[in-house]
């Protein structure tokens, strides 16, 4: 039946048969990304292999007014690659070539389907690496990282994807070529590269990315510190920063999280502790020795009950393995989990964690916490069973309240996972109608017909009105100071 679709016929004119999927058995694997609670079969999946094919697919869809949803590895956690039933899912999976690694210039030019970890692997012989390291780095692709502005556990010192991308190349929905940024710094005109990174596939389609490579530090060591309560651990983080130290990594996990992880990876975490901090230093051996000693003094003064410093690279990686495996570990103790991504000013950590603990009781759901403590990015994981409709509903309400709390304390609903379809309602809380309208105007500047990944990231006015009505409790909106319509 799909074969009769006009778009399939149009695509066949320039794409080989294997690059067009329209039978349900073939399109089924694309029905969701890492946010599996939301599923939708795409009308057609296109799997281009060349830039010219991408250009023609976009031109074709634009002419037929068919929406296009770009997709990398499908590991995204916010439903950014959720297909549309009347749209083309544009899989960039075949764009997996590393085009160039220039060790002297310290750049890697890659296609968007290249996996994050591959860039560091191929740069390693030159003593270089690509800094952003989202926990899904063995699977997620650079194209997805750029679209979501992915982070990782070393952002405080080395920045997000935004800080490590020098340039991108791609096509607008009308098939016009675009080059933003490049190896020369400070491209003339507006910083459209900043706009492109984190734009969730809504402005244009990427076909090539130039990444910055950094010299691999000579050595790195991590302190694992135990704390008797979570707020003390939070205060310890502030003490380290106040002392003028920017640790290479600074992560916190609470006991429910360490317990889930320890059963799964045996990282050697202290299960007695209410929270543990992983505090990493990197640099020359002299710098690391000096910084580790200073951090140990500060952490002890802040009330650490136990501290272990990694003795060698194997032990350092073991300490991190638990943190990196936190999501899958939680996946083993619960049928489903829902990962949040709010970011808060660090000083409000205690208040937000108490708020989450109260919501666990209110909704009768457990919620372990892992936390990029250095940069204030929280990943509370609500445990639920998707087969139980009521639990799913309670999870959504729980998550919504947490995100709105993040906004209330001066933070944001998403630090690194993106808005996608998941947090689109909360965009109405974080932004005013005038700001959302400007976002829509930014999109129109690139995509006047609104065909690229429509319905994601930026809510419509109507959607916010509806959500606003839903959220009125007892005649009082949660943010009465915000103008409404």
């Amino acid at each position: 039946m799909g074969a009769a679709l006009p778009v399939v016929r149009a695509l066949r004119e320039f794409l080989p048969e294997r690059a067009i999927l329209h039978e349900e058995e073939d399109t089924r694997p694309y029905e969701c990304d890492g946010l599996t609670a939301y599923r939708q079969l795409p009308m057609v999946v296109a799997l281009p292999e060349t830039e010219e094919q991408v250009r023609r697919i976009l031109q074709t869809c634009s002419a037929l007014k068919i929406p296009v949803v770009p997709r990398g590895a499908g590991t995204g956690l916010s439903g950014g690659a959720l297909p549309l039933g009347d749209g083309v899912l544009l899989s960039m999976a075949k764009f997996m070539r590393v085009l160039r690694i220039d060790p002297l210039a310290r750049v890697a030019v890659v296609q968007p389907g290249v996996r994050n970890a591959v860039v560091s692997e191929l740069s390693a012989p030159f003593g270089l690496y690509y800094a952003p390291d989202p926990s899904s780095q063995i699977a997620c692709t650079i194209g997805g990282n750029v679209s979501e502005n992915s982070g990782g556990v070393h952002c405080l010192k080395y920045g997000l994807t935004l800080h490590n991308v020098l340039g991108v190349r791609g096509f607008t929905i009308d098939g016009e070529p675009l080059q933003l940024g490049g190896e020369a710094p400070d491209a003339p005109g507006y910083d459209l590269l900043a706009l492109a990174v984190g734009s969730e596939g809504m402005l244009f389609v990427l076909t090539e990315v130039t990444l910055k490579l950094l010299p691999k530090p000579q050595c790195a060591r991590v302190i694992m510190a135990s704390f008797g309560d979570v707020e003390k651990a939070g205060a310890a983080v502030a003490d380290v920063i106040a002392a003028g130290i920017v640790p290479a990594g600074l992560e916190m996990m609470d006991r429910p999280a360490t317990q889930a992880v320890e059963q799964f990876v045996h990282a050697g975490y202290d299960l007695e502790a209410a929270a543990i901090l992983l505090c990493e230093s990197d640099g020359t051996p002299e710098e690391v020795e000096d910084e580790i000693a200073r951090m140990q003094t500060l952490l002890a003064r802040a009330g650490a009950t136990r501290m272990t410093v990694s003795r060698d690279e194997a032990e350092r990686l073991r300490f991190w393995s638990g943190r990196k495996a936190a999501f899958p570990a939680v996946g083993r103790i619960s049928p489903d989990y829902y990962c949040m991504d709010g970011t808060i000013p660090r000083k409000r950590l205690g208040e937000v964690l108490r708020f989450i603990a109260a919501l666990e009781k209110k909704y009768g759901l457990r919620c372990p916490n892992v936390f990029h403590a250095g940069d204030g990015n929280l990943h509370p994981l609500i445990l639920f069973d998707a087969n139980n409709a009521d639990e799913l509903h309670r999870t959504e309400l729980f998550a919504g309240e947490v995100l709105e709390k993040c906004v209330e304390v001066g933070g944001t609903i998403t630090g690194e996972h993106g808005v996608g379809v998941e947090k689109i309602n909360q965009m109405c809380v974080q932004f005013r109608p005038t700001e959302l309208e400007l976002f829509r105007a930014v999109k129109r500047a690139f995509d006047p017909q609104g065909l690229l990944n429509p319905g994601k990231a930026v809510p419509t006015l109507a959607r916010c009105s509806e959500y606003g009505r839903m959220r009125v409790h007892g005649g009082q909106l949660p943010h009465p100071e915000l103008p409404r319509f």
Binding site: D186, K216, G411
Partner: protein
């Protein structure tokens, strides 16, 4: 107070009266011709929030850049991108609108890398907030970084939040003799090694290198780099362009190129920064020749200081990008009142 700024802007928009957004006027020389009635931002000043343990400061546009830096220094912190002031009157708003970074840019990052959020008054007189005070924030398009370096053409940056860094514990500047090609190679090689190089500059056979970091790290690296320690306050002269290279009547060009680009064969004198990626050129060379030389190595050339800017201050945009610029400009500033033509005719 922000309301009265917004009111004035609304009124100007209603009358289609162009405004020239201006702080201390220290960067009046930068960009194309100045047009419109001066809209002085200095009345809107002051630090709104500064939490050293959060590594974030939020301040109003009219805040004096040097006073802000003093306050940060008292807490052992700094603006990591080392912005040029170009005069004692420099304001934070002007600094962010100009988007210029100083000697530390190649190692620490550019101004835009440290912008976390802005309060912007757009051309309709609406006060809008983008980004925030937190390090990681991917909600909505990154408008706060878009307006950094937009030369005030998209709106009045009323307030800005910046990420800070601790001041390095130790610093040391070394000087080596090296011809240009050798200096370019050295700068690129060092950048590929885990060394605490925080600035580089080459001029007339002398390569100057700054190391910043822990005392132990700086000491260990200095041995490998070689050269002799330099005591004069060299970097300030580079950042503020008070170094002798920058004086004289000839136009000053700023060529931005990939750091490994070979020496550029152009008439005039050159000073190189940012590990080879920034080539300053004092020259009366034909603008077309300068721009072509930059373009040949995938770079671009800005006519930074010149009495005659007929050639256009910035490298022309490709047609698709020019169209996007025009559309963004009309989305933010539909009446076209903010610094018209300062960046491009279409923006």
């Amino acid at each position: 107070m922000i309301e009265s700024l917004a009111d004035s802007i609304r009124e100007a928009a209603a009358r289609h009266r162009p405004l020239r957004l201006r702080g201390g006027g220290t960067k009046d020389f930068y960009g194309n011709a100045l047009r419109g009635e001066v809209f002085d931002t200095r009345g809107y000043s002051g630090i709104v929030a500064y939490e050293p343990t959060e590594l974030v400061v939020t301040a109003r546009c009219g805040t004096s850049l040097s006073e802000l830096e003093k306050k940060l220094e008292a807490n052992g912190q700094c603006l990591p991108f080392e912005p040029p002031h170009f005069g004692p009157g420099a304001t934070l708003g002007g600094c962010v609108a100009a988007g210029l970074s100083g000697p530390r840019r190649a190692s620490a990052g550019a101004l835009r890398d440290f912008v976390l959020g802005v309060k912007l008054i757009d051309g309709r007189g609406q006060a809008l907030s983008f980004g925030g005070q937190v390090m990681k924030n991917v909600a909505g398009y990154d408008v706060s970084r878009l307006v950094a370096g937009s030369l005030g053409t998209l709106g009045l940056i009323a307030e800005v939040s910046l990420k800070l860094a601790p001041k390095p514990q130790a610093e040391s500047t070394l000087r080596l003799e090296a011809p240009q090609a050798r200096a370019l190679e050295l700068m690129n090689r060092w950048a590929g090694q885990p060394l605490p190089v925080s600035a580089t500059a080459w001029h007339e056979g002398e390569l100057t290198v700054r190391l910043s970091g822990s005392a132990a790290g700086v000491r260990a690296a200095a041995g490998g780099i070689g050269g002799a320690a330099l005591d004069e306050p060299f970097w300030r002269g580079i950042r503020e362009q008070s170094h002798a290279f920058f004086s004289g009547p000839k136009p000053l060009w700023r060529l931005s190129v990939p750091s490994t680009s070979p020496p550029l064969e152009l008439q005039g004198r050159q000073l190189i920064e940012w590990g080879g990626a920034l080539r300053w050129l004092k020259s009366s060379e034909d603008p077309k020749t300068v721009r072509a030389a930059a373009k040949r190595c995938n770079g671009h050339a800005t006519l930074f200081r010149a009495p005659d800017k007929a050639a256009g201050c910035f490298s022309p945009l490709e047609p698709v990008l020019a169209r996007v610029h025009g559309q963004l400009k009309s989305a933010f500033d539909p009446a076209g009142i903010f610094n018209p033509g300062r960046m491009y005719p279409e923006a």
